[in-house]
């Protein structure tokens, strides 16, 4: 082979080798570009997922906040209604308490205190269930209680007496057995307390009914 031909062949080999290297280089860069594109596309999808999750969380938090505020408003509303009811039930009880003084003093013609006292005394004597019962009441009721005791003794066949010591009460009686081991409280303020505790629904129905 001549020198010229040898050189030509060398050049061709060099060119082929370099061409091969360039193609591999381009492939590598292309591959990187494609991978970069994938990375960015995946990042965009991930970003969308993040944003959607954050939006959903924000929405959920807002709904919870709304729900909390509505619940608070409902509690406030119920409290408003309950306060009104409690205020007027309390007012009715207080009015009744004041009127008991008038009834006991005989200033309310609708009620006869003497009859009331006798009924309360009888209930107390029966409730106590003893053979010998002492009635305790206001000093002002002593005479009335003496008469009631006498009547109840004959009516119920029980020895009913009036205790020497009066009690501080609006009205009504407390009955005790001879040894003062048991008592039956039937004072007006005690009964008012019972009514307040046990008849709250009935009082509300009357007050707030149509």
């Amino acid at each position: 082979m001549g020198l010229v031909a040898e050189i030509r062949e060398e050049d061709a080999v060099v060119a082929a080798l370099l061409e091969l290297a360039r193609r591999r280089a381009e492939d590598k860069v292309e591959e990187a570009r494609a991978r970069a594109q994938e990375i960015i596309e995946e990042a965009k999808r991930e970003a969308e997922r993040i944003l959607a999750a954050r939006r959903e969380k924000a929405l959920r938090e807002m709904e919870e906040e709304i729900s909390r505020r509505k619940s608070a408003a409902e509690v406030e509303a119920r409290k408003l209604i309950m306060d009104v009811k409690a205020r007027y039930v309390g007012e009715a009880i207080e009015k009744a308490r004041e009127m008991l003084h008038d009834i006991v003093a005989g200033r309310d013609s609708r009620f006869n205190y003497a009859e009331v006292l006798e009924r309360l005394a009888e209930e107390a004597v029966k409730g106590l269930g003893s053979d010998e019962v002492y009635l305790m009441g206001r000093e002002a009721d002593r005479q009335l209680l003496e008469q009631i005791a006498e009547r109840l003794s004959s009516k119920l066949g029980v020895k009913v007496r009036v205790d020497d010591n009066p009690i501080r009460t609006v009205g009504g009686v407390v009955a005790r057995d001879a040894q003062d081991r048991r008592r039956f409280y039937n004072t007006l303020e005690g009964r008012l307390r019972d009514v307040q505790e046990t008849k709250i629904h009935e009082i509300s129905d009357i007050l707030f009914g149509r």
Partner: protein, 99 residues
């Protein structure tokens, strides 16, 4: 022959340079893509997220309270109207004449 070896070596050197340059270019592309990825994700995490507040919420809440106020007023009106009856009931229960 030594000349051919020299040519081959030079060509290999050139081919290696081309490939190394491509390697660096590819690494740069991937590094930039990673940076871009980080930027996209950071923006997604830090972007302000706004949700549409239902316009009727405030109205619903004030309606609950208004309704309660109206009911309370109605209860007050009825209580004042029925107070005497209620007191009478309480007195009868206390005095034991309730029937």
């Amino acid at each position: 022959m030594p000349r051919l070896i020299e040519v081959v070596l030079r060509t290999e050197e050139e081919a290696r340079r081309i490939l190394e340059e491509a390697e660096r270019e590819a690494e740069k592309i991937l590094r930039e893509a990673e940076e871009e990825r980080e930027r996209i994700l950071r923006e997604a995490r830090e972007a302000s997220v706004e949700v549409q507040v239902r316009g009727d919420v405030e109205r619903e809440i004030s309606e609950i309270l208004e309704r309660a106020k109206r009911e309370a007023e109605e209860l007050e009106r009825r209580a004042l109207q029925n107070m005497e009856k209620a007191v009478d009931y309480i007195l009868k229960e206390v005095l034991g004449v309730g029937g």
